[in-house]
């Protein structure tokens, strides 16, 4: 052994340095790898919970309909009954949680109706489309159409 080490001592020291580095790395690895990694795959399991824990902004139409059955009745038989309430009224989960906290504001009919109903080549034909100037000039859409049941007669 001593004969082997003679003239190789510096190499052994270098090897020892590397070994020490490796050991420190392995220890650090145990300490620093986040808990729950590799459980379901190559990711931190807690990330699933993180993604699921976001606050909700849209309550969903069932929540609206449970408190506003009168509106549900109004929309019966109209094409608009297929549309979720929040599409036009905005995100209202806060209102659904506590109606007194947030009172939803009415959307601007002039802009909102036309986003869907202004005629455009790419829109499918089943959708009723109008040229605003020809159809109503400077009138507002709600002058003639009830948004919850826009069909006339």
């Amino acid at each position: 052994m001593r004969k082997f080490l003679k003239d190789r001592e510096h190499l052994v020291r270098m090897a020892g340095l590397f070994l020490a580095g490796l050991v420190v790395f392995l220890i650090l690895r145990v300490i620093l790898v986040p808990q729950g990694f590799y459980e379901y795959g190559h990711f931190r399991t807690g990330a699933l919970a993180d993604n699921a824990a976001r606050p909700i902004a849209y309550a969903g139409r069932e929540a609206c309909e449970s408190c506003h059955p009168d509106i549900v009745d109004q929309r019966k038989g109209s094409h608009h009954s297929a549309i979720a309430c929040e599409t036009c009224h905005g995100a209202l989960a806060k209102h659904a949680d506590d109606p007194s906290k947030l009172k939803p504001t009415l959307p601007d009919a002039g802009k909102l109706c036309l986003v869907c109903h202004r005629e455009e080549m790419a829109k499918p034909k089943f959708l009723k489309q109008v040229n605003p100037r020809e159809h109503m000039g400077s009138e507002s859409c709600v002058a003639c159409h009830k948004p919850h049941h826009p069909e006339m007669a």
């Binding site: 986040p34 729950g36 990711f43 807690g46 699933l48 993604n51 905005g90 080549m121 499918p124």
Partner: protein
């Protein structure tokens, strides 16, 4: 100093051991449960999506809803979902004209005159939550991953912001959120679907063009949809296992 070497080493050793143990215990405390929400079992779901191009009216409700629901920056150009308008000149599917003004956030201003023999339609786009996702394949650290229920998610506390996944996505779904300097993308509203709600975009789509589907649920309407429509995925040649199925996808769509 009064402390001899042996005592010092013992003390240091104990300190290191206790600190590591404490660190580990703390980590498992704040790691969170694997199940994303109570009553939600990861193994019971395999999420997919259907888009019916023949029903999309280009209103942009989905784009607006997504930005609201997921707190996406309003100033361009960051989109978890967006809508493209295609104008295919007469008989020339190889040279469509495509535009997406602010991703379709404010709808589409009229552009083309009728009568030119062209084909026009809208194509909503979102993350395809690929079953063989090239984006999760290239993440060097495991910050973006395939969840067991088929959703491609991002771990914002772990992402180092190298942008490799953004390069690897063939569909352009990913972007870097400048507020967190980590990657962001459609999460299929994971926080909603794990609570029995549907995604924000599907909720607000007025025509039902967009539909969330649970492929593992035998009663889910997605099965009937896939059976009765001729569906396609985007860039099928890439073999990404995309799970966003389009009905009415024209050959000109990129």
């Amino acid at each position: 100093m009064g402390i001899d070497r042996r005592e010092f080493l013992k003390g240091t050793g104990k300190f290191i051991l206790l600190t590591s143990a404490a660190a580990l215990a703390w980590d498992s405390l704040i790691a969170g449960r694997p199940e994303a929400a109570p009553n939600y079992n990861l193994q019971d779901h395999w999420w997919g999506f259907t888009i019916d191009i023949e029903k999309c009216i280009g209103c942009g409700s989905c784009v607006r809803a997504c930005k609201t629901e997921n707190d996406v920056l309003l100033e361009p150009y960051y989109f978890r979902t967006w809508v493209e308008r295609y104008h295919v000149p007469k008989g020339d599917i190889e040279h469509p004209e495509v535009d997406s003004p602010n991703g379709g956030y404010d709808g589409f201003p009229p552009r083309y005159k009728p009568g030119d023999g062209s084909k026009n339609f809208f194509v909503p786009k979102l993350c395809n939550h690929c079953a063989h996702s090239p984006c999760t394949q290239v993440c060097p650290v495991g910050a973006t991953f395939d969840s067991p229920d088929g959703v491609i998610l991002v771990d914002k506390t772990y992402c180092i912001g190298c942008r490799y996944c953004v390069q690897a996505c063939p569909y352009g779904c990913r972007f870097i959120d400048p507020r967190t300097m980590t990657v962001d993308k459609c999460s299929l509203c994971y926080h909603r679907i794990t609570k029995g709600l549907t995604t924000a975009c599907c909720e607000t789509c007025p025509t039902g063009a967009r539909m969330l589907g649970d492929l593992k649920n035998p009663k889910d309407p997605i099965h009937e949809f896939l059976r009765t429509h001729k569906v396609q995925v985007l860039k099928p040649q890439m073999a990404t296992g995309a799970k966003a199925y389009y009905n009415g996808l024209d050959g000109s769509v990129r």
